[in-house]
Amino acid sequence: MSEIKKIKNLKEFSTSADRFEGAHLLCPGCAHSIIVREVLNATNDDLVLAASTGCLEVCTAVYPYTSWDASWIHIGFENGSTAVSGAEAMYKALKTKGRLKQPDRNPKFVAFGGDGSSYDIGFQWISGCMERNHNMMYIVLDNEVYANTGGQRSSSTPIGASATTTPAGSVSYGEKRNKKDMVAIMASHNIPYSAQVAPNKWKDMVKKIQHGMNVEGAVFINAVSPCTTEWKFDPKDTMHLADLSTDSLVFPLYEIIDGHELNITYRPKNIVPVEEYLAAQGRFKHLFKDEYKYLIKEWQTRVDANWAYLQRREEARV
C-alpha cells in the first residue's frame, strides 16, 4: 500500500504536476478532461490507464500525439476495462516472479469509458472485471449520450432528452426510458467500493478516488460529465451545469461500501428545482412546451423519490 497524497485544500491540490496534457482535441469546455485531471492528480503513484473508444480516447491519442504522461492503452469500444484487468494480472504475475522492472512502484490501474462504452456495449466486460474483483478502478465519464459520434442515445440517456436516435419531434418528446442505475448494478457485484462523483465537487472526487485507489479490489465510479456539445449549453457554463446536476439531486453524490453500506457524501444547502437543471440544456428545450410540462413534474417526483430512497438506505445502514 502506498502513501496517500495529502491534499488539504485547493491551493495544495494546485501544486500537482499534471500527467494529462493540453492540446488534446476535446471540445472547449469539455468536462471529461476536468474529471480526468482531478482523478490523475489525486495520486502520486504510477498509473496504468485505459480508455475505451469514445471522446476521451479519440481526442487524446491520435497519431502523432498522445496527451498521456502515464502508461496508457486503448483496444476497442467495449474492452477498456478488460485491457486494464489484463495489465493488472500481468503486474501480479511479474511481481510473483520477481520480474518487475521497478518493484518499488505501486501502480494504480484505472480504466475510463464513456456511458456508451460502459452502460451499453462494454457492460458485460465491466461486469466481468468487477466480478473477478481485479485491483482496478473503472470510471464512467457519464455524459448520457454517444457524444463522440454525434449524439445518439445510450442506455444512460434520461427520459425526455432529445438525442439523434431518439429525437424530439411533433409527436415525440425524445428518449422514452429513464437511464439505468449503474452504480447500484455495479455495487451489486459486492465490490469493495462504488461511488458517484461530479467534477464541481473536486474534494469529494479526490477523497473517493483516493479511497478507491487504496482499497484492495475492484472499484466502480460514475462521474457526471456535462457535455457542452450534446447537452447544448455554452462551453463556459460547464461547471454551472455540474453544479445544477448535483444541487438539483439529479446526480446525487454518494458511495457504497462493500456493495451495501451507502453514504451520502454531499447534501446541497439549497436544493435547486429540477426544472432549472432541465432549462439550462437545449436537449430538454421541448419539455417546456405546454403538452410536455407534465414530464418536468414527473422528473421532479422521480428525483425526489430517488433522494428519499438514498436517505433511507443510508439510515438503514444495510
Binding site: 485547493l10 491551493k11 495544495e12 491540490f13 494546485s14 501544486t15 500537482s16 504536476a17 499534471d18 500527467r19 494529462f20 496534457e21 493540453g22 492540446a23 488534446h24 482535441l25 476535446l26 472547449p28 469546455g29 469539455c30 468536462a31 471529461h32 478532461s33 476536468i34 485531471r37 482531478e38 495520486t43 502520486n44 503513484d45 504510477d46 487524446t60 491519442a61 497519431y63 502523432p64 500525439y65 498522445t66 496527451s67 498521456w68 504522461d69 502515464a70 512502484r105 467534477p199 464541481n200 473536486w202 457542452t228 455554452d234 462551453p235 463556459k236 457554463d237 460547464t238 461547471m239 454551472h240
Partner: protein
C-alpha cells in the same frame, strides 16, 4: 511533428512515447516545465488556432484560490507554489470556464476577442462598482 514519415521510419505498433529517454521518477513529482517531452506529446502541440475569444488575466484582483486551475479542461492555468501565474496560450481553447468560476469581484479573468491587446484591456479593467449584482 511536421514530417510525415514513411512506413519504415517509425517504431512498430500502434504506440507513442510520452517522453524522450528514461524518466527517473514518476512524472507526478516532476513539474511540466522540467520534463523532457517527446515530439509525440501533445504538450509540444498547439490548439491556439481553435480560439475565437481569449482569457486575459489581471493579477491585481487574483486571490490564488485555484478554481481556474482545477476546472480548466485544457491544463492551461499555470500555477506555481500555490500561486496563479498565467495562462498557457498554446493549450487554451478559449472556453471561458476559468472566467465563470473566478470568484473575485471584479473577476481577475475576463474573456476578450482573440485580437484584443492584453495591456489595454487590463488598463481598462472593470471595477467592482461596474459589476452587476
Amino acid at each position: 511533428m511536421s514530417k510525415q514519415q514513411g512506413w519504415d521510419e517509425f517504431e512498430i505498433g500502434a504506440m507513442l512515447r510520452s517522453f524522450d529517454g528514461k524518466i527517473d521518477e514518476c512524472p507526478a513529482f516532476t513539474p511540466q516545465r522540467d520534463r523532457n517531452y517527446s515530439q509525440n506529446s501533445s504538450h509540444v502541440a498547439s490548439v491556439a488556432d481553435w480560439r475565437l475569444i481569449k482569457p486575459v488575466y489581471n493579477k491585481d484582483y487574483c486571490i490564488d484560490c485555484q478554481f481556474c486551475w482545477v476546472y480548466c479542461p485544457d491544463v492551461s492555468i499555470i500555477s506555481r507554489d500555490k500561486k496563479m501565474i498565467g495562462i498557457d496560450m498554446d493549450h487554451c481553447k478559449g472556453c471561458g470556464v476559468c472566467v465563470e468560476v473566478c470568484p473575485t469581484n471584479p473577476k481577475s479573468l475576463l474573456m476578450f476577442p482573440e485580437q484584443a491587446d492584453e495591456e489595454t484591456e487590463i488598463a481598462s479593467w472593470p471595477t467592482k462598482d461596474e459589476k452587476e449584482e
